[in-house]
Amino acid sequence: MRKPIHITAPRPTLEELEKRFRISEARKKELQALVDEFKAMHSIREEAPVNSSEPEKRRKRASAA
């Protein structure tokens, strides 16, 4: 099995992506609504009385930020 490549390059930013692809502001708002829906979905899940896994904890922290 091939050894994984460890990526150390600086992380790309959303601004760089937006320079590469010009998405209209109106369309970006619609996509942002999907992101908000995603955030809301995970907020609901956080309240559910189930074992909280690490990814869920991370989402909680990210949502709170």
């Binding site: 099995m1 091939r2 994984p4 490549i5 460890h6 990526i7 390059a9 992380r11 790309p12 930013t13 959303l14 992506l17 937006e18 692809f21 998405i23 369309r27 970006k28 619609e30 996509l31 942002q32 999907l34 992101v35 995603f38 955030k39 979905m41 896994s53 690490e54 990814p55 991370r58 989402r59 922290r61 990210a62 949502s63 930020a65």
Partner: protein, 206 residues
């Protein structure tokens, strides 16, 4: 000599067909989860010959993924096998052999040992086997690349499901049924990147 490649750039050489769309979405989501930047030949425009534009795109990426999992003879109207993926893989191998510090390529397959039959010249190459599933693609992305603070596969799968569930709405909004269209690819990238930033430990990219 072309400029240095994007150190996060990954050229995606995948079949543009309907049956592959879930894996295509998984590649985009998975690569963004590791803060890599997928590139697709359909994103390039311009008057130059198509093959030259594809070669420039390969040269601009530090890595490439060549998914040879759909090597079957097409059952579509043409009835001929598609040679684009092996052709682009051949171009990439030549480029990487000339300038190994500028490019690293990976071959991906759905079935173990099939590559030895479909392209025996690649014997000695360890393909990433995704078993034809989105989860397999995400797992193999994590096996091929590492980054500090990377997400778990279940967490990536969660993001993948959300993006995949919204693909039809994105297609509708862009007036197309083709998920490989430039406009759809752009929006899948934007959504995947935004979700990756949102869920990453430590918040947005810095």
């Amino acid at each position: 000599m072309p400029p240095l490649p994007d150190p996060n750039g990954v050229f995606l050489n995948v079949p543009y067909d309907e049956e592959f769309r879930s894996l295509y979405v998984a590649y985009i989501v998975g690569l963004y989860q590791l803060d890599l930047v997928p590139h697709l030949s359909s994103e390039i425009t311009g008057g130059d010959r198509r093959l030259n534009r594809i070669f420039k795109l390969i040269q601009s990426c530090r890595y490439s993924i060549h998914d040879l999992s759909r090597v079957e003879v097409s059952v579509a109207a043409t009835g001929v096998p598609r040679f684009n993926m092996p052709l682009e893989l051949g171009m990439t191998i030549t480029w990487a052999n000339l300038y190994p510090s500028r490019h690293t390529w990976f071959v991906w397959e759905s079935e173990p040992y099939r590559l030895q039959r479909s392209a025996s010249d690649l014997n000695g190459t360890d393909p990433c086997i995704h078993n034809g599933t989105a989860e397999g693609v995400l797992r193999e992305v994590c096996n091929a690349f590492r980054r500090d603070h990377m997400p778990s596969v279940p967490s990536m799968l969660d993001d993948y499901r959300f993006v995949d569930n919204n693909l039809n709405a994105i297609l509708y909004k862009n007036g197309t049924r083709n998920p490989y269209d430039r406009s759809v690819f752009m929006e899948l990238c934007w959504l995947s990147k935004t979700l990756a930033d949102l869920t990453r430990l430590g918040g947005p990219a810095v």
